[in-house]
Amino acid sequence: MKIRLKQRSVLPGFGLSLGFTVLYLSLIVLIPLSATFLKASSLTWPRFWHVVTAPRAIASYELSFGASGIAAAINLVFGLIVAWVLVRYTFPGKRIFDSLVDLPFALPTAVAGIALTAIYSSNGWIGHYLQPFGIKAAYSRLGVVIALTFTGLPFVVRTVQPVLEDLDKEMEEAAASLGADRWQTITRVLLPAIMPAALTGFTMAFARAVGEYGSVVFISGNMPMRTEITPLLIITKLEQYDYAGATAIAVVMLVVSFVMLLAINLLQAWSGGRMRSTAGGNDLALSEA
């Protein structure tokens, strides 16, 4: 049996389109990426380890990952509620809210950054209510969580919405006819069905938050060891011409990115497979003999 890399194609243009795609990706992504790893390898292993485990670096990881996790969790809970409300209920202005969910995608991060800082600083619209309670929203770790919640807001909502929309009402009716009350139906029938999508959204929100820069640098205050996120640490090292150090930290972030990417793809395959099996769709790909 001959092993083919590709069946001979009927549609033309494969060579041209694939060639261009690979060329573009090589120039824009692969070559620059390899330069990064090359540069990082110029550091000896002990030195690399020393840089990436320095106290300041560790503090920044704690903040970046910790705050991202909290923000993603907030978005998981509230994202589910928002998705549910948008799909299942009607209320005045729903369309506007629905469109606005994508704002964090469309709004430049710097604009979001200064806007959030303005709201939560001690004389800001919300900040000045919090101040009497001693809650410092801006220039604190709380501020970082708030900013990361903003950036990750659309992810869970947008991954869960289509799944909710496609859920068969008949499943719920079947559960009800079998005696389940509303709460049981929701927790035993609906939630498990949307969990894969919700987890996918959570992971995406987390991945985005870990690398987020623009929305966070204004509200965080950027105090080393306290409110300094990892991307900022990289920039600080760059400004001090410590290219090797900056690259080392960047490699850590890249590895995390790859792992996140893998997790997201796996989660999507899992939830995609789930969808396909329940909906019983047609696969038009293979021609029927």
């Binding site: 049996m1 069946q7 009927v10 021609s287 029927e288 003999a289």
Partner: protein, 343 residues
């Protein structure tokens, strides 16, 4: 344009879609590729069209080897199962497409294209719907547009992939007859794929029965129905009763188990009577009678336990006055025995 497919084999991964298939279609014939899903009929059609490339074997048009030519170069008219109409173009633009994409030298003028399109629209009786979009048409109308579109470029071969598969029964019947009439007028070499044996037997000049990537039998509709070459063909075309049996000389013995021979009898070739009348017979008890329809269908259980399906005319049924649970004699009028087959 005659078509020859020689030694065609094609695998999709582990699955053998076509296994050394040989087929010859003379010019002007209307041929049906008939078989169940997975038989390879659509794959064979697409190999002829150039929409798939065979792993081995060759395709010839009028004796010329065109195996390496692309679909575009083969100039076949192909009608897809789901029509594949260009959804953003009107009916007119769909039909005109093949003429408009011709290279500048051989492209007809706008006027000529319009004339040709309107001629075809009249042929398919949709001249009032020229400006509609496919989404505004019914299934039967879309299929006719797909056919007109394929005919517009005056192909030498017309290939249709389950053309009526997605349509209602009544529309299917109408279009079936219409295709036959069209072929009688135009005499273009046509091959169509179907899993509906009634359709194949009614429309085609010749039927090619396929199963599991191989051709079981090729012949006229009468030939394959009345003289099936293999048990598969017998079973696939029309209803059939299966019994274990054995052939000795010109005597057929039914009922003995595990002989490895199978006896096939068509339901309308079994008579029911209350007396044996001397000829070969067996007893059976009537379990169910369905008298709604042109034929009466009787389900019985033979004395050895096998189910038996019998069909008879309404007149015969009225004469017999059969009732449920009655014990009767069943007289086979014609049987076929296939040796060394599993039931």
């Amino acid at each position: 344009m005659s078509i020859k497919a020689l030694n065609i084999s094609k695998r999709f991964g582990q699955f053998a879609a076509l296994d050394n298939v040989d087929l010859e279609i003379p010019s002007g014939e209307l041929v049906a590729l008939l078989g169940p899903s997975g038989s390879g009929k659509t794959t064979l059609l697409r190999v002829i069209a150039g929409l798939e490339f065979a792993d081995s074997g060759s395709v010839q048009f009028d004796g010329r080897d065109i195996s390496d030519r692309t679909a575009r170069e083969r100039r076949v008219g192909f009608v897809f199962q789901h029509y594949a109409l260009f959804r953003h173009m009107t009916v007119f633009e769909n039909i005109a497409f093949g003429l408009r994409v011709r290279p500048r030298e051989s492209r007809p003028s706008k006027k000529q294209i319009a004339a040709k399109v309107h001629e075809l629209l009249k042929l398919i009786q949709l001249d009032t719907l020229a400006q509609r979009y496919p989404s505004q048409l019914s299934g039967g109308q879309r299929q006719r547009v797909a056919l007109a579109r394929a005919l517009a470029v005056e192909p030498s071969v017309l290939l249709l992939d389950e053309p009526f598969g997605a349509l209602d029964a009544k529309v299917r019947l109408e279009l079936r007859r219409w295709l036959r009439q069209l072929h009688d007028e135009i005499h273009i070499t046509s091959v169509f794929v179907t899993h509906d044996q009634e359709e194949a037997l009614e429309v085609a000049d010749r039927v090619v029965v396929m199963n599991q990537g191989r051709i079981e039998q090729i012949g006229s509709p009468e030939e394959v129905y009345n003289f099936p070459a293999t048990p598969f063909v017998y079973n696939f075309l029309g209803n059939v009763n299966l019994f274990h049996g054995r052939l000795e000389g010109d005597q057929t013995y039914i009922q003995e188990r595990e002989t490895g021979h199978v006896v096939y009898v068509r339901p309308h070739l079994l008579d029911i009577d209350r007396a044996p009348n001397g000829g070969s017979h067996f007893r059976a008890r009537i379990k169910h009678i369905n008298a709604a329809g042109p034929l009466v269908k009787v389900e019985a259980v033979a004395e050895w336990g096998d189910p038996v399906h019998i069909e008879m005319s309404q007149e015969k049924f009225r004469d017999l006055q059969l009732i449920k649970d009655e014990s009767v004699f069943v007289i086979p009028k014609d049987v076929k025995v296939f040796a060394n087959q599993d039931a």
